[in-house]
Structure formats: C-alpha cells, structure tokens
C-alpha cells in the first residue's frame, strides 16, 4: 500500500512497474552484450534455486528408467507363475542394477584413467541438466565456484572436448557445448597440422572455419585442440572430419566435423581447473599488488 501511495493511481503504478520491468530486461541484455556478464549475485542465486529441481528430476528419472528396465517387462505373465515371476523380477532388477553399476564403474574407471593421464588439475562433475531452449546447447553440472570452477574453464571427457564453463553458481555451473553456434575453439588437423577454428553448428555438428584451401584435409581426419586457446591443453580430441567441400571461391575450404563425444548422452565430465588463465579482475589485482 505504501508503495502504491507514491503513485497517483493504480493505473500509474501498473504502467510504472511494467516500464521498470521492461527497462530492467533491456539493461540486463545490454550488460550481458557489452561486458559478457549479468548480475553475478542474482545469477548465482537463481542457478542455485533451479539446480536442486533439476537434480531431483534427474535422479527420479534414473530410478524410473531402472524400474522399467528391471521389472515392468514381467507384469503380464500368467498367474501361476507369480512367485517365479517375482523371483525373476528381483533377479533381473538385481542384475540390471549390477549392470548399471558395472557400466557406471567402467565409465568412472575410464574417467579416472583419463584423469591420471591429463597433466592438469581436474575436478570430476556430474551432468544434471541440459539446455531448456531449442536454440542453444549447454549442460548444467553439479560443481560450482566452491569446487574451484570459474568461467572459461575447459570441460572434457575421456572421448574428447565437451565445451567451456559459461556461468557459475556456488555449487553448480553451466557449460557451453562445442556444438553451440556461439562456441569457437582453436584447433589443428592431427595428420597434416592444418590450423582451423572449430565452430558449433548445433545438432551435434561443428564446422571447420578458416581452413585454407591449400591444406590437405580428408574425410576421417582427426581434429585436436591446438593448445593456443589457453584453457584447453594441446592434443585433446575434438572430432572427426565428416565432409570436405572445396567448391566455391575464396581462400578457405569448408569442412564439417562430428564431435568425438556424444554430447546428448554425457553423464560425467572433467573440468580442467589449473590450466585456465586468470580472470581479468584477478589479473588486475595481482598487477596492483606487485606495484
């Protein structure tokens, strides 16, 4: 009521609030476009509010998936076999759980072996959600600033490069996948050492940009990170060339790439903590301290 009293009438209050809301949306957009950042506190707060819902839904879905795999197929057997059915169901469920555990253990073992191979300091994270929109490609992870995760850090899996950290909250973060159309990554073709930029195209595909026409690139060639981007160590697998097109004019040729990681089925990833460059503010602080 007190706020409402500040305005001449109820109509004025409504119009003012609508204008304020629209203005804040525009200011937010302008902040993000100009400085590539939003309101950090508010971002972190909202990520932390939404992520537990995502986590809960993911774990419920896993349970349901397990139930369907292990039990539901047996529901329509004859009555006289009920006992036997139950036994089989229990055994199957147990079997399925063990299979799932074995699969998870395999995946984690692979991740662990890979982690030992990677010289940089890494943090393992679980995927708890995917992009809710049709236009963009991202994943939500269950690790955040409290685990040392910062914006721009590289995210990888044993099969290759996944993407880089885009937004962070205290306990969760969002990864921009290499297939997102705004993602770009410095790379080289493993066989010929030809340099190019891997640009996302959505739908699990990437594009090799600025690949000189004179360079020898064939279908099936592996593309790896160049190590020049700073965040990604050199030699990490990005994907395989699927299509090369030298038609048309200009000094560049066109090549399409399939990422080595199946980004639609990712469950665990590694975040490279150590080799990431310092954020600008921290660098500035360090410079000031040394002065």
């Amino acid at each position: 009521m007190r706020i409402r009293n500040l305005f001449l009438s109820r109509k004025h209050t409504a119009i003012t609030v609508i204008i304020l809301l629209l203005l804040s949306a525009l200011i937010l957009m302008s902040l993000r476009v100009k400085q590539r950042k939003g309101v950090d506190f508010f971002d972190a707060l909202l990520i932390e509010i939404c992520s537990p819902f995502q986590k809960a839904t993911t774990s419920i879905l896993k349970e349901i998936k397990g139930f369907f795999r292990g039990y539901l197929f047996l529901v329509q057997l004859q009555k006289e076999n009920t006992m036997l059915r139950q036994k089989i169901a229990e055994l199957r469920k147990e079997n399925q759980q063990m299979k799932e555990m074995a699969l998870a253990s395999d995946r984690l073992q692979k991740l662990l072996q890979f982690r030992e191979k990677v010289s940089a300091r890494v943090v393992a994270a679980e995927v708890i959600g995917q992009d809710p929109t049709s236009w963009f490609k991202s994943l939500t992870l269950n690790r955040g600033e409290r685990d040392g995760v910062r914006k721009g850090m590289a995210v990888i899996s044993p099969e290759g490069v996944v993407g880089q950290i885009l937004k962070t909250g205290p306990f969760h973060s969002v990864v921009l996948l290499i297939t997102d159309y705004t993602s770009a990554l410095d790379s080289i073709v493993e066989r010929t050492r030809a340099k190019a930029i891997v640009e996302g195209m959505g739908e699990n595909r990437c594009n090799l940009k600025y690949l000189l026409r004179a360079e020898d690139v064939e279908v099936g060639d592996s593309v790896i990170t160049s190590g020049l981007a700073g965040n990604f160590p050199k030699g990490l697998m990005i994907g395989e060339v699927r299509k090369v097109d030298k038609r048309g004019h200009g000094i560049f040729q066109y090549a399409e790439l399939i990422p080595s990681v199946d980004l639609t089925r990712l469950e665990e990833v590694l975040i490279i903590i150590e080799s990431s460059p310092l954020p600008r503010e921290e660098k500035e602080k360090k410079v000031k301290r040394t002065k």
């Binding site: 609030v17 629209l22 993000r32 959600g129 929109t133 939500t140």
Partner: protein
C-alpha cells in the same frame, strides 16, 4: 506472495523438466516449451504486475540454464506476456483448437523475436540458425501448441485453488 509463489514454483519445476526429462534424444526435437505455455496462460489471466514479475523471473531462469549469454529470454518472455495481456478478455479461449492456435502463433512469435535479437546482437553465426528453424523450431512450436490445452486446463484448476479468479477476469 500467494499469487506469485504457486506459478513461480510451477515454472521452476517446468524449467527443470524441460532441461531433464524432455531432453531425451527421441524427444529433443519435439519437446514442448512448458515455460512458454505457463507465461502465456499468465498473460491471459494474471494481472500485469505479479504476472509480469513471474514472466521476468522465468525468462531469467531460461537464460541462466541455457547457453545463451545475452539475456534474450528475460526480454522476449516479458514482451510475450504483455502482448498476451492485449488479448485478455478479447478472445474466446474455452475452445481447445483456439488455445492451440493461439499458443502456436505466440511460440512462432517468440522464436522469431529471439532470432531477431540474435541477428541484431551477434550477426556472425546467424546462418547456422536457419536449418534448426525448420528441423527443430517448427516441430517444437507444433508440440507446444498441442500440449497447451491440457496444460491450460491444469493451470486453471491449480491456480483456482490458490485464489478466486477465472481466466479472462481482470486481476
């Protein structure tokens, strides 16, 4: 608070569903935008202040959980909400077909608005967004339209429990 909290919680739940359950490979292309349907429902039935605030927060949530760095959805969902407000009390929405048609048109408008903003803010990779327009965006708009009558009915019942108002009435 009584007016804001139930739709906000439902919106966050939808956001979580949209980023988990509805991302399975076979569902991915036809996944309906549940948050958009909720925003439209609010636009057609909620008062401009509380409804606008919820649309703002849900758009913000979409921006945070997506790979979009520009804050497009905070803006587009708010515009969509106020656009829907213009139709409040002016169209007959008890018919399933009309509900679907309206949601379909609004989903297209939302997509085109996002594309326009992307084109304006970051024109360089714009060409990559043309193929998904047909392979992903159109099926997505259709599925959103088909699901909307059921969700409208659900919202009508759920929100009716929390407050005494009906769709089309002034807030």
């Amino acid at each position: 608070m009584k007016r804001i909290l139930p739709p906000l919680c439902l919106g966050i739940l939808f956001l979580a569903l949209q980023s988990t359950l509805l991302t399975f490979p076979f569902l991915h292309r036809i996944r309906p935008d549940l948050v958009l349907i909720l925003t439209l429902y609010l636009g057609l039935s909620y008062p401009p202040l509380s409804g606008g605030l919820i649309a703002f927060l849900l758009g913000y949530g979409m921006d945070l959980l997506s790979g979009n760095t520009f804050g497009l959805y905070t803006f587009s969902r708010l515009i969509l909400f106020y656009w829907a407000q213009l139709f409040k009390n002016r169209i007959y929405l008890e018919n399933f077909f009309l509900q679907s048609l309206l949601v379909f048109l609004f989903t297209l408008a939302d997509g085109l608005l996002v594309l326009f903003l992307l084109r304006t803010l970051n024109p360089e990779p714009w060409r990559h967004l043309i193929p998904p327009l047909f392979t992903s965006f159109l099926p997505h708009s259709l599925s959103t339209a088909l699901v909307s009558p059921f969700l409208f009915a659900l919202f009508h019942r759920v929100f009716f429990l929390f407050q005494d108002y009906r769709m089309g009435e002034k807030g």
